[in-house]
Amino acid sequence: MTTVRFLGIGEPKPKRSIRLPLWLVSYVQAMPLTLVLGAFLLLPLIMIITVSFWDYDFAQMYPDFVTFNYTETLGSWVTWKIYYNTLRYAFLVWAITLFIGFWVAYFLAFHIRTSAMQMVLFLVCTVPFLTSNIIRMISWIPVLGRNGLINTALINSGAVSEPVEWLLYSDFAVVLAMVHLYTLFMVTPIFNTLMRIDKSLVEAARDAGASSWQVLTNVILPLAKPGMAIGTIFVVTLVMADFSTVQVMSGGQSASVALMMKNQMSLLQYPAAAANAVVLLVLVLLMVAGILRIVDIRKEL
């Protein structure tokens, strides 16, 4: 390592007057993160749980202990329908992104010969995910719309006589846009685990007479499971939290739990929104805890 050479020729450092005992250093280093997460995550969550038991009217919230925020929301079949709808989106998007994510990662990890090319192609996949979600969402409108690219192409080719209506402002559009938005969250962790597979394992399997398919199903797939689990956590939690894609792409015809919350928030019904938030949070955390039983994140990083 060439950097070591810099030692000794650097400017002499003045002796520091204060020395922290070694055991304290970690605490000092961890302090900023703890404070930020404490103030902007833990405290707000505690607040939401508290507020979910408060009373409210059109203008204000009143500290109280009532449970009707929960009974109202859980007692309504609309809520259950919306939860079902959200879970359905989560399942569909999860299944599709898992399929795409695995094959893209597998292609990059096992079929690209040079690591430079691997990095370039991986970046090609990554760049769109670093641009605005909303822009990427609305960019589907001119493609899927009534007079959009696909409908124009279909009509010009004579495949259909009327524009296909279900392309935009439908469940199809919502799922398509979500897959578009979230696939990278599946590709990256799977790519990461696949890159760590010892290539000699694959060779050993081949030498023992395994076909490509057998190598894939008996060696690579089992070893890729942790990456798939982490990707699943990302995709499922992102879909469960989504309100903008559902709102924009369904044209207001479908709802998700987060969208229901957002509407309650815009009506200043904070306690009702908070009750929904608690239910959604418990559901999401249970799902994540379930997945974490399969995979130890700390080992996979």
């Binding site: 030692l7 055991w23 900023p32 010969r113 990427r136 493609v143 309100f243 999401v284």
Partner: protein, 272 residues
């Protein structure tokens, strides 16, 4: 292993990959093209002539929105979030290299920060500020809300970096008589610099594009994504696409500059 031949599997997967890339970039290119729509053109194809009308429109006074102001706010917020994310994740990454009480709890709190739905964070911070009688603003509540999203990413990346970091370099430096600060400054820091720049890029772009967390926490003045989100419901001209094109080009420039910087760093390091 596969280097001796290109199997049929390779070609099928290559086509799959190409379709995936087309899927990623295709719609984006549609709005870039449509932002050059003629003055009388609408939100969809075909192009009704070509003009810069809608880009010019961005700089005129609007009935809805204030793009200049919201862009400046988003930029400032992104830079603040980036700086804090890099520094705090680096510190946390260093902390996690040693055992300390509460390390596991802090780690899982970071993971929780990633998985808690963003709208819940937004609602929670909004209610906290309201109850404490504070005025939410993009630089206070919005800033904190963004950090709950960027910091866990930074921490996980630093965690991964230090997992692969061999302590023997530091031991060598110490054996040569370096103080712990010198070891950090001249040995550890140059080695992890590219990762830190990556964390910075994540911090900036995640904040620059974030809007679910800003929804309840931005206060009086909108950030750019909120502005765009508002436009999706009430703007019916291609000015929306022009704005999309401009911000996307800006994002691309930021990404390209960052990657350039990383390549440059790696090159100068390997030249040593």
């Amino acid at each position: 292993m596969y280097s001796d031949r290109r199997s049929r599997e390779f070609y099928i997967l290559a086509i799959f990959f190409a379709v995936f890339v087309l899927f990623l970039y295709g719609p984006l290119s549609a709005i870039v093209i449509l932002s050059f729509q003629g003055p009388n053109g609408g939100l969809t194809f075909p192009l009704n002539g070509v003009s810069l009308r809608w880009f010019a429109n961005l700089f005129e006074t609007q009935a809805v929105g204030d793009f200049g102001g919201s862009f400046r706010r988003s930029l400032a917020l992104g830079i603040m979030v980036m700086a804090v994310t890099v520094l705090f994740s680096l510190l946390a990454g260093l902390a996690f290299r040693r055992r300390f009480i509460g390390a596991s709890a802090l780690f899982y709190l970071s993971v929780a920060s990633l998985v808690v739905p963003s709208i819940i964070v937004s609602l929670g911070i909004g209610v906290v500020f309201q109850q404490f009688g504070l005025q939410p603003a993009w630089y206070s509540s919005g800033f904190g809300a963004h950090l709950t999203w960027t910091l866990p990413f930074g921490v996980l990346i630093m965690f991964a970096v230090f997992n692969r970091f061999s302590p023997s370099y530091e031991e060598a430096a110490r054996d040569l008589g370096a103080t712990s600060w010198q070891t950090f400054r001249h040995v550890v820091l140059p080695m992890i610099a590219p990762s830190l720049i990556g964390v910075g890029l994540f911090g900036f772009t995640l904040s620059y594009d974030e809007f679910a967390r800003t929804l309840m926490t931005a206060g009086t003045y909108n950030t750019l994504p909120l502005e765009i989100y508002g436009m999706t419901t009430n703007v019916t001209t291609p000015v929306l696409y022009a704005l999309g094109t401009v911000t996307t080009v800006f994002s691309f420039l930021v990404i390209a500059a960052t990657l350039g910087l990383i390549v440059l760093l790696n090159r100068s390091r390997s030249k040593g």
